[in-house]
Symmetry: C2
Subunit: 238 residues, 2 copies
């Protein structure tokens, strides 16, 4: 028997193991992004990372735990930054509530910063995140829920103050739409290459992207809710 595995709770954290762990996390980030969770093999992953096959199970316990570690490494700081930015804006706004634009920017900018920082995973990580959003695997959904719950609740309150004309239900739906457009756009597999026109004429630039996304989302959030009387007459044919 080996000298005994480290207890799951202990954090060895010496230089050598941190290096191996980091190499695994980096390789996992790009492999999970490229092939998805299920189709990524630990053999290919460890070989790309230049570490032994058993290292994943030694350092992370299992493939699932490795996946969660990959997400945590980036999401925790990003969501923390989002909350701090929102709170700074609330302080700066004084008694008045921050505007919809300001709140939205506080949400978008940390994601943009992450996308531009290759040392923090860059676009690779955001694409991975976009895939994770669409994955129905329970361990992924539960994990993301836990990661996002606090941040989302915080922003929902802020938007509620900035958009008092919307009911809570309306606001919940609209935040859903915002997250959809955002994750889909940031995941940026260029959707279906249907929009290739853009990348042909215009360099794919994340800052420019958010300058286009922001007015779209702000206008959507500010739209008057549909009155009950107006319906989609088309649905039932005719």
């Amino acid at each position: 028997m080996p000298a005994s595995r480290p207890a799951r709770k202990s954090v060895p954290q010496d230089a050598a193991s941190a290096d191996t762990k980091t190499r695994i996390l980096d390789a996992a980030e790009s492999q999970f992004m490229e092939h998805g969770f299920e189709a990524t093999s630990l053999r290919g992953l460890t070989s790309a990372a230049g570490v032994n096959l058993a290292a994943v199970n030694y350092h992370f316990g299992s493939k699932e735990e490795l996946f969660q570690a990959v997400l945590t490494r980036r999401l925790d700081p990003m969501n923390q930054e989002r909350i701090e930015l929102l709170e700074r804006m609330e302080r700066e706004a004084g008694e008045r509530a921050p505007s919809v634009e300001k709140i939205l920017f506080a949400m978008l900018v940390p994601a943009l910063r992450l996308a531009r920082d290759e040392r923090r995973g860059g676009k690779n990580f955001l694409r991975l995140l976009g895939r994770a959003y669409a994955d129905p695997a329970p361990f992924i959904r539960n994990f993301l829920s836990a990661q996002y719950a606090g941040m989302i609740a915080r922003y929902k309150e802020a938007f509620h103050l900035a958009l008092p004309q919307l009911t809570r239900q309306e606001l919940t739906w609209r935040l859903h739409f915002v997250m959809g457009a955002l994750s889909y756009t940031l995941a940026g597999t260029d959707a279906l290459k249907l929009f290739a026109q853009v990348t042909a004429f215009e360099k794919y630039d994340d800052e420019l992207l958010l300058q286009r996304l922001a007015p779209f989302l702000v206008a959507g959030l500010r739209a008057p809710p549909l009155a009950d009387s107006r319906k989609l007459e088309l649905v039932s044919g005719g």
Copy 2:
């Protein structure tokens, strides 16, 4: 050697094989939705469909071709319906171009009809589609591109007439955002269960959903483009 496989081009299409093929397609639709392409096993799939393991390779050739057949069965009619609806609206609008709302509804309503029709896959299929959108596997991306190219080009023209103030680039981006919010919403894994509040108070109703989504998207499409002078001052800190 067996009596010889049917040539890939021939379409046997007799009752017995159609039945087996349909059973496979139905099972594949729900299994691919639930587990994703890679994690779905043909053994589980064929056993759920009540057919022999070899039937998939016999009738469809391979797992990949089966996946494409699952998508084609629903997408072809839906996109055809979208185009027909758009053309009807263009005829009804006469010389004037149809409004943004009208065009958008022509896009959304066939998806809604599909979602409500359990005989055509219902929500299962739309969730599957939402996953496929986020999948970077080349065979999926190329297939979806081919499936959507005509429809998207058609709609882009219609929107261009309805929104002449937008440059082609702006319009392309906004359609990208629209597709994002739409696919994310229709895929409706309830996102991250972060929005559970909605399903608690309000029955999950697709028609109601589109009545909330439409004003959001219409307002986003109609938003004035951001002037170059306004920037995200926050990006570089400060």
